[in-house]
Chain length 435, copies 2
């Protein structure tokens, strides 16, 4: 039986707060060399278009394409990928897509207007973006579930064109990804990746249309490119390593909790699994489960690295204190593995997604619960939200003054504009004041 030393913390320790800070510290690496390479790729794609994209794709993915047309998947490719899936996979993917769609339908923002007594009308018009770009990583991190989670909110928002890019290193195509694209309503798909794909989506080329927003995870080149084009197009958040915080009252099967922690840890050596409980004996039991189950895991090496470097088992006084520690951490995923999660919920202020009750494994949320699995990491749940339909809609304010309203408000605006020495503002408003 392997013994993994997972760090133990206790909220009664004098230095608990500092220890917690140390545990949570995470600096994303920014690298000058990578910045320079990415800037060069962005510039070349901006100027040369398709030709540069094909050249970089041939070089980095070891392909031999002679034109962008060769790198485009057809709708037929996507449909066939879906039809050719084994029955159990097609069924599971279809159920997941439908549940994700049903949940996201409830996020749609609606336009509204109201009229004031003098006839003045105010409101907010909600419209979808015209075109969204979806980055899907290639190779091992190529997840069909990510295609669903990124594409369906855009589709529900009413985005008319959804452009997917996915690299195919050495020509290897992930049929599950193409099948998911078919289910999620992707309009066009290209076998390109890396900074060159981000550049193509941000600036447009002869073949790849310029989009309004780029979403989806990627490696350091993709993340750097997204940060660089932010402003030219919208982007989703730059994600850090995945995290789970489990709050347990001590009465869930410790094997279940150990496996829930593993399910984050297996993503990445930097992933952060944390367990909080008021029951010290339960922490011991989970520790024993970890030691028992770890040798049975396919990704044992990754999981143990994450457990040793980034995990913690934290003893607290009670569930109220557990909620306070949660609010300090603002985790991406929070499991409330307790008897009465509804009672604890009002105390939870910050978390990307909240998994309530012993049966709600976080892994269900990754695939088929319905809510999005793209969630704020590294404490950014303090100020950000899961990816959603609202990320693909935007608002325009509506203002229509009646003649009377413009006259009354013209007087107010005039005083304030003159207070700010903006006299053209004042005179523009004053023209609309009735004699």
């Amino acid at each position: 039986m392997a013994n993994v030393n997972v760090q133990r913390l206790d909220s009664q320790q004098a230095d608990f707060s500092e220890q917690l800070d140390k545990l949570l510290a995470w600096e994303s690496v920014s690298n000058k060399e990578i910045n320079r390479t990415v800037d060069e790729i962005l510039e070349r794609v901006k100027v040369e278009g398709d030709q540069a994209v094909v050249e970089f794709t041939n070089r980095f993915d070891r392909l031999n394409a002679s034109s962008m047309a060769e790198l485009e998947f057809s709708q037929k490719d996507m449909q066939e990928a879906l039809e050719n899936l084994p029955e159990d996979q097609r069924h599971a993917l279809t159920v997941a897509a439908q549940r994700v769609r049903d949940y996201h339908e409830r996020q749609k923002g609606e336009s509204w207007q109201y009229q004031e007594a003098d006839g003045t009308l105010l409101g907010q018009k909600v419209t979808p973006m015209d075109r969204a770009g979806l980055y899907v990583p290639g190779g091992k991190a190529s997840y069909p579930s990510s295609v669903l989670m990124n594409a369906i909110p855009a589709h529900v928002a009413g985005v008319e064109e959804l452009i997917m890019v996915v690299p195919t290193p050495d020509g290897e195509v992930n049929q599950l990804v193409l099948a998911a694209a078919a289910l999620a309503g992707v309009s066009r798909a290209f076998a390109v990746g890396g900074a060159q794909a981000v550049a193509a989506l941000a600036y447009g080329t002869e073949t790849i249309p310029k989009v309004d927003k780029i979403v989806g995870p990627g490696n350091i080149f993709v993340a750097t490119a997204k940060r660089a084009v932010y402003g030219t197009v919208g982007i989703d958040m730059i994600a850090g390593p995945s995290e789970i915080l489990v709050i347990c009252d001590g009465n869930t099967d410790p094997d279940w909790i150990a496996m829930d922690l593993f399910s984050q840890a297996e993503h990445d050596e930097d992933a952060q699994p944390i367990l909080i409980s008021p029951d010290a004996a339960f922490l011991d039991k989970v520790s024993a489960s970890i030691d028992k189950l770890l040798p049975t895991m396919e990704r044992e090496a990754i999981i143990s690295r994450s457990l040793i470097d980034r995990a913690a088992l934290i003893k607290v006084a009670d569930l109220d204190e557990a909620a306070l520690v949660n609010n300090r951490i603002a985790p991406e995923h929070l499991e409330l593995s307790v008897e009465d999660p509804q009672a604890l919920l009002p105390q939870i202020k910050h978390a990307g997604a909240i998994f309530m009750g012993r049966y709600t494994a976080e892994a269900l949320g990754d695939y088929c619960a319905g809510p999005n699995h793209v969630l704020p990491t590294s404490g950014t749940a303090r100020f950000s939200s899961p990816l959603g339909v609202y990320d693909f809609q935007k608002r325009s304010s509506l203002i229509m003054f009646s003649e009377d309203g413009a006259s009354e408000m013209g007087k107010v605006a005039s005083v304030l504009a003159r207070g700010e020495s903006l006299t053209a503002h004042a005179r523009s408003a004053e023209y609309r004041i009735k004699d």
Copy 2:
């Protein structure tokens, strides 16, 4: 009479599309020297806290403070500023604040939940951020209206602490800004500005609390600092120069339209005022009004620079084509100065705020219409929204599976997780499948 040559375009020109691209081209300047200076200020404030903030403030604003405490305004300072305002200004500011509050109340997001047949519960919990930071520029660009527009949405969202920073170069305090802070519900206010103020809000110091999001306009040092701390805290958009697009059917008083164009132009030499009309003779009339009115303007120099370098009068075939050109531009402010703006509205896809009808001067929206005056610039209305209550709230997904639901969905998750080779995910889900 001054003659200003405003560029004329016509949609019938063969090269109209290229000319439009040239007109709209805008590259925000990024400067290595400024980046280095800002990075140094951020690092020193992060490490040294209050001491560095006081030192930079004394140096850049020519003050002589010996501690942060001396640089804090009290609630009494803010209340007195409000009480001491001339009656017309206090009244105008109070009316504006109330109207902004009323409008923004309608933007509040609400939590929701729903239950499925097997008892599984899904939902979305909406919560405010704990603390927001509001940057207010000093000197000439110190606008009380901006205090209202940035602070009120945060207050309506339920943000408990609202921290304002405003530099006071040479000790000059803008009483209108303090009065607006009192009206808008600012919790604490400090006489600091620049990159050092952004750093203090992002990292926290002994005196200035760390916030979750920083909003508000500022100079290039402030914008560079905000971009650098993005991720550590949330930020609002980095704003480009202000813009107005007026679509007029030719039947509005040309003096009114000229003054509306001036009201953007007076902000800044880089501001961009554009008029579109199907009536060529009307463009001539507005041109004459410009020449007539320009010499009467306090900010004549700034306005003429903006008109010469960045403005355009565009002739189109009809209002439908005007809407198409608008959607290409995605302007910050759009005036529909036409007989039936409601009829044109469905064709408008992208604009920060839409001012409808001849009476609705854009300037009314800057102060007291109700909707926010912080709006997406430089075409970013294609994918972003006005500042709003939604910028100070965030969402957490809620998932609570029943025993039956977890069992059924466990099967689906298991298939998909194994398809992605994530076996800890699969086993975590499988534990919840009933025998």
